[in-house]
Symmetry: C2
């Protein structure tokens, strides 16, 4: 049997994430006692929220202490079970961290019926990122046909799902991404009507030309000056689904947002949201996402790094924007 | 008859408002032609939004051009009428600017049944400020018994109404105001449970002690660092009714808001709102406000400056926070 590779969080993060914040260990493969089961993980999900858990004094989700196995979600199969609800061979999504094997008595673990879909999708379009896209557009912003929707981090795990949902509603969808390659990918592969490069010198001008009728809904994943520029384009009674601020996570001092007055002038509704607070949306979200996947209407995009030992560098690279779609680490078969 | 004193806007505003932005003129008293009527104004309302109209390139409400009579609301009585809908003696609220006499063919004028209340109240608690307080708390933030409500510009025209509405719902109501005198007035006269002085050195600490259970609803009138401090106190699923940013109106560069991430972390809903977009709330708002006024549950507070010629200095002083409650200018009897 493979060893149980574990990646531990060993140093609080205040600036960019690097290898020194992690330690890699070979732990014994756990054995199930009565009421427990062991999952051999196939994929690890890399998510921006994980970095927040590494910051000193953060009160987001459960606390992570120095020395703990790094927080994260995995999907894998049960290899040993003494738990009546989980049988060998079951697919299980765990919130038990960056390790090859997860031991659970049922907590932080959820049995997944694959329903004909690849397991990795349950960490992406059929996991939190997909449900996040659905909640932000359908429940928070309530997009309508004919509206212009802006989506920052356009090619990320959430954005690559959100664009398809917004297009299905009949919206004009304008992405914001870093660099010409990502912008081309956004339009050609993901189906954005336009995608604006925030690294371009005349970003605000380009954004204006891409949104001639203004912006009715901003699905905000980035924050910082990019967000300020989008706010300047908001129409009366626009809605902002504030989902992430990834441009801010590696900064020791946050960017001071300038355009708050426009939220007042334009009668804007801004809702900060974390998908964990919208459990009641999950069933409707998954039903639509699966239906559209079956019809081939979604653009599934994954960036997969092989080997759990490479997770720290893949995680650091994610904040540099190296990935397209959902960032995953393949742990095993 | 008195002359028609008019105050004109003669210079765009980029910093503090001063006398040089206005010119005082004696114009002829207008005469009504067929279909018109003349109102002799009794009171002029001074409102922070008026300053925005004086800024270059602002797209808030109707445009104000250099040389125009300064924008503002008045209340007065019809002294001459050739209009079938308005009779001599009728009370009329006009949006026709800073002048002793208003001429109208029915536009920008609304007949007011005093219903036993003093005319000036129709520029304050029974006018936009009162309806604004109602919309922000009842419609936007949907306050509930037991919640903690923070109200900045606590002793202003809107705040002095909002506190009574929030108390009537059974909320803990914490004001924010400038200086110990206003804070004492807020607690002793307006009925705030506590009022925190934003000029105090340890403002954030004092705010924390005044909101031991955090803040569920922020009725935001001020913006800037005061708003950032309130955001840091927001509870999960808090609501921000963003009504004004008076601390920002005299700045050439806006304050860069730091705490946007907390809106995400705490699942906060922020709604920028201007009362003009909530006409459908007016009837319900006025019904409650009149009922509570009759029962003596409201704290009516007005700061009245005598003489229209003194309106510019009273307006400038308002931004320095010299007033309590509704700022008015008495034009005539």
């Amino acid at each position: 049997m493979h060893p149980n590779l574990q990646i531990r969080f060993v140093k609080p993060v205040t600036g960019p994430v690097t290898a020194e914040h992690f330690a890699i260990e070979n732990a014994p493969v756990p054995a199930a006692r009565e009421g427990e089961f062991v999952v051999r993980n196939a994929f690890l999900s890399l998510d921006p929220y994980q970095r927040r858990q590494m910051m000193p004094g953060v009160h987001y989700a459960q606390p992570l202490r120095v020395g703990d196995v790094m927080v994260g979600r995995t999907i894998g199969r049960v290899v040993e079970s003494r738990h009546s609800g989980f049988a060998v061979g079951d697919w299980v999504r765990c919130s038990l961290g960056w390790q090859s094997f997860s031991l659970s008595a049922g907590e932080h673990a959820e049995k997944i019926e694959l329903d004909g879909f690849a397991p990795s999708l349950y960490l992406g379009i059929l996991g939190s990122p997909g449900i996040t896209a659905w909640v932000g557009l359908r429940h928070v912003a309530k997009i309508r046909a004919g509206e212009t929707v802006a989506i920052s981090a356009a090619t990320g795990a959430v954005g690559s799902v959100a664009v398809r949902l917004a297009k299905s509603t009949g919206c004009r969808v304008v992405g914001i991404a870093g660099g010409p390659a990502k912008c081309a990918f956004a339009v050609e592969t993901l189906g954005y009507d336009a995608c604006v490069d925030y690294q371009a010198q005349d970003f605000s001008g380009l954004l204006g030309r891409a949104t001639p009728a203004g912006v009715d809904v901003d699905f905000e994943n980035v924050g910082g000056p990019v967000f300020d520029a989008v706010i300047a384009r908001l129409n009366q009674s626009a809605r902002v689904a504030l989902c992430g601020l990834v441009s801010q996570y590696n900064l020791s001092e946050p960017y001071g947002m300038r355009n708050i007055a426009e939220l007042l002038n334009q009668n804007v509704m801004l809702q900060g949201f974390r998908v964990g607070n919208y459990e009641y949306c999950r069933e409707a979200a998954l039903a639509e996402l699966k239906e559209r996947l079956r019809k081939g209407e979604m653009a599934v995009q994954e960036t997969i790094t092989d080997g759990l030992a490479n997770a720290p560098s893949a995680f650091a690279a994610m904040f540099a924007g190296s990935h397209l779609g959902k960032a995953l680490v393949r742990i095993g078969e």
